[in-house]
Symmetry: C2
Subunit: 184 residues, 2 copies
């Protein structure tokens, strides 16, 4: 557990409550050289199959087709040179829907509990505003992913839709998914 002391669009500074060590996490656009690190985060998330609607046995190429889809910009959370999280940002819909951004976030399992997802979300909200979006929508938050649901609610997102049984959870069977939304 860590206490966040400063959340800035580009740098998250936090103090480890046990060691009192101060650390800084930088959130920056992904470079080509981050691909291996991003896959190290994505692969266990996809294999677990509990939070993203992606094939559990999908290849790296298939996963990257999704993460780096046309129109996506990919960012990473860089903790002193180690990539511990990644997110993408895209325009959720074209035309009359193009004022709404969409993002997806993944944190390395080993880095959970350090506020990485929240830091990336804060970064994405600032970045989206800077790009002129006026709202952000998450299309498919698996309802049993309670940590994510609480985190996004804490970041100002409201549940605006419930998709009944829209996700086949590998242990729990069909569970609901949420649509979450907030203005910027």
């Amino acid at each position: 557990m860590s206490a966040t002391v400063l959340s800035h669009p580009m740098v998250l500074v936090y103090i480890d409550p046990v060691t009192m060590e101060i650390a800084a996490m930088q959130i920056r656009p992904a470079a080509e050289t981050d691909a291996d690190a991003i896959w190290r985060i994505m692969e266990p998330t996809i294999r677990a199959g509990e939070t993203y609607a992606l094939p559990m046995d999908g290849t790296r190429a298939q996963a990257f087709d999704y993460w780096y889809a046309r129109g996506n910009d990919v960012f990473v959370a860089d903790d002193a040179g180690e990539v511990i999280g990644t997110y993408y940002m895209r325009t959720n819909r074209q035309g009359g829907g193009s004022h709404v951004a969409n993002c997806g976030y993944m944190t390395g399992a080993w880095a959970n509990g350090r506020g990485v997802a929240r830091a990336m979300c804060a970064h994405s909200l600032d970045e989206a505003k800077r790009r002129g979006y006026t709202a952000m929508q998450f299309n498919f938050v698996v309802s049993t992913n309670e940590r994510a649901v609480r985190a996004w609610q804490g970041m100002g997102f409201a549940i605006v839709g419930r998709l009944p049984g829209a996700f086949r959870h590998p242990r729990l069977g069909l569970v609901d998914a949420f649509v979450m939304f907030r203005n910027l």
Copy 2:
């Protein structure tokens, strides 16, 4: 206005209540030769910008990128050789979400009021079931498109989400969009 007397997955037979003429509409997979007819339906819909989140000034190629996107199957409603409607079917999400189909429908403005959208929707529900989907979701039904909302409700869809101000309507400004869902 016409009275539908038989709705079959492949053929919709209706009687014109004025002329008592019997007509049959066939719903079938689109052929390459249907492209011009499909664009004749899509172009005015896109230019009006009131129902689909697509750029109002988009080209035919951009519109087809959307309609014929990877994974989409396109169908047409064929009224004695004249294409009067079109729809696409796709898997809404991969992996744990792949049991849910997604469709989009467009009817030629000149053929409105003849039950074309409902016929295509009925066809798509049968086709989706046949393909093993167990639900269908519409991700973005513009709330002011009341005829569509009512038609889909009449076809068993429920509004499961309301996206606040998610659509920039060319006359009405920001309006809500609905997520609609039904099991198969």
